[in-house]
Amino acid sequence: MIPELGTLSLIIALLLSAAQSFFGLAGAHRNRLSWMQVVTPAVAGVWVFVALSFGILTYSFITNDFSVGYVAGNSNSALPLVYRIAAVWGAHEGSLLLWILILSTWALLVAGLSSSLPVAFRARVLGVLGLIGLGFMSFTLLTSSPFTRLLPAAADGADLNPILQDPALAIHPPMLYMGYVGTSVAFSFAVAAMLAGRIDAGWARWTRPWTVAAWMCLTCGIALGSWWAYYELGWGGWWFWDAVENASFMPWLASTALIHSLAVTEKRGLFRSWTLLLAIFAFSLSLLGTFLVRSGILVSVHSFASDPARGLYILALLMFFIVGSLTLYAFRAPSLKGGGGFELVSRESFLLLNNALLVAAALLILVGTLWPLAMDAFNLGKISVGPPYFNMVFLVPALPLVMLLGIGMHAGWKRASLQTFRRKLLAIAGVAGVLALATALIGFGSFGVPLTVLGFAAGCFVMGSALIEPVQQWRRGQGLPRAALGMAIAHFGVGMFVIGVTGVASYKIEKDVGLAAGDSATVAGYTFKFLGTQPVSGPNYEAIEGRVAVSRGATPVTELATQKRTYRVQQNPMTHAGIDVAWNRDLFVALGDELGADKWSLRLQYKPLVRYIWLGALVAAIGGLVAILDRRYRVRRTTAVPAAAPGSASTVA
């Protein structure tokens, strides 16, 4: 009975979503206040019923209700409670329900925090969000209901895929979805603005914190996924250019570009049509990501069983939103005139370059991701695009991007003279160069690969440059506005990330060895001594555990345990790596196969500076959080009428 209530509440949520979008869009169009007033209660109602539905599914998992097909397929009575809860979004149906829950949560937040918006504009935003919800709820109910009964009920469940039984993976999908779905808010603001024909600085100011919030979640979600892949998929890589990773990375690039272009639109009233296009682009890429992952069109650890009906439905949704919004854009964009000019050296120019480089990277990654699918669809052969392509098309725009970032942060609007900062920037560049050389030569003892020193220098330069303003203000005893502080923190995080990537790419050592108990191997000056294996057992798995003592010279460093687990239900073997973390490197040991002659294969790895990759992403996300808390986003509309930028408050209708 209870699972049926889950379906029922999802149906109620669907009907309320229909009401939300109809009264929002039609009410604003006809300018009927009474219609528009229905929207907020509808949003709240949608949230309540979606949450109820989600709660019921979670309840079915907690109580091991194996008469529900989805529960039987993805859980087991021996599964620890926390993973029974995480199993709710462990496969297709439940993760869609999570998608919907997050969408309705964003809508609820927009409804709750936007009382300062003009009534019609707010109704339109919520109306568009309701339309997206309608699309995804009907998709779930028609093709992928998680509440479908299994007759007869299973005696026990088929268990959650072992690789998903992990704390980082329990929070990776919700985080990533918050980011994915968060781009729908910027999209709804853009569509609402186009419908109203009012695309001005106020619009940009309203959109900015939402976009940054989505970007922040996306950043954390991608970083968590990368961290998880690093230790859980077992082989120590942190990014594979897997199509599904690309599917999350492309919206990230587009939202990063959007954040920067929104800054120009808010401050100077420029780039307006471009900003709109980016908002559409970011959301379309998120939908495309959903399509790629959920349609089962890709070969990847992420994609679940394929079902053509699902793929077609998402494709139709994708087409509806992309074609619809682009058509609207085609009607509106020509009436948007540029606000004012700017000099070649100005913050606008730097941000323009930022956008060009980010979008170029996103497009090239898109080509590499979709090309194999297109070739296959037209029977032109089965190909795949290797990681070196992606490394190349990302690195070529990213390197100038990072270097320009260090300078551009200090450029003024309209016409910049970097005179005031020139000496400081030159000094920082000098220090960064020396630090980079020292890190490479003294820290690691070689120049590494061709771009090593340049990478370190760029990272140090950005970090130093990001510190200029906070330090300056701190010395004067003044606080920095939160937006500026957030920007500095986020860019500092970018610098950390660049240093981490450079360190790993230049100096990592991976070595597969065959060792018998008592044998040792040396990697990067560390001696790994294999102590042998023993059987161990966990709550729902059996494992063979290999122990490895690590020492450097005569000093013991650590003892690592690595397991080859076999989960009782699915019988899939899975490697659990042993990792020793230090500020400057990770030591990574993974147990391979029994080789005969009492030997085991082991993968030993030395990963210098790898932590800064995820730490940098985390710091960047914190920067985003700080920026959202800026006072000006909380100021009431009456005091925040766009008077700051002359010529930007034009009305288009």
């Binding site: 060009a356 391979g592 002659a597």
Partner: protein, 145 residues
């Protein structure tokens, strides 16, 4: 600069940038396209000699062999028409096992496929689509090995 020259300058700069980017991207793209061949195509000599490509098929039962104590492992993959021997000297993925579809990445040397990467999917029911398709060309005989 006059507005006219400024516009000209930016147009030229953009064109140069786009052109350069296109050249770099196309070159990178061309160098990194990996084609997929099944064992029959390899046996027919369709796979490029000395160039990296992907091969896929079922791991023949009983074919996995290694010298005791050595990392190097040899196995045979088949599309149930033709077979190719694969040699690999790194750790095999967790889900590698006999009778399962896999994809390997590497090149042919002396009639043997020298792999630098072997992929098996994290789902035991899984069959890479490329492998599944290539198997349809040749229906497996009952109890085939």
């Amino acid at each position: 600069m006059t507005p006219r020259r400024k516009r000209l300058f930016s147009v030229v700069a953009i064109l140069a940038g786009v052109g350069l980017a296109a050249v770099v991207a196309l070159k990178a793209f061309d160098n990194n396209l990996l084609y997929f061949y099944d064992p029959s195509q390899v046996a027919a000599g369709m796979a490029p000699a000395g160039k990296t490509f992907r091969i896929g098929g079922m791991v023949t039962k009983g074919s996995v062999a290694r010298t005791p104590g050595s990392l190097e492992v040899r196995f045979v993959i088949t599309d149930f028409a033709k077979s190719v021997t694969v040699v690999y000297d790194q750790i095999l993925p967790d889900l590698f096992r006999e009778g399962q579809g896999i994809i390997a990445h590497g090149r042919m040397r002396d009639g043997v496929f020298v792999a630098d990467d072997v992929l098996a999917k994290h789902d035991e029911k899984y069959m890479p689509p490329e492998v599944a398709k290539s198997l349809k060309h040749a229906i497996p005989p009952e109890g085939s090995t």
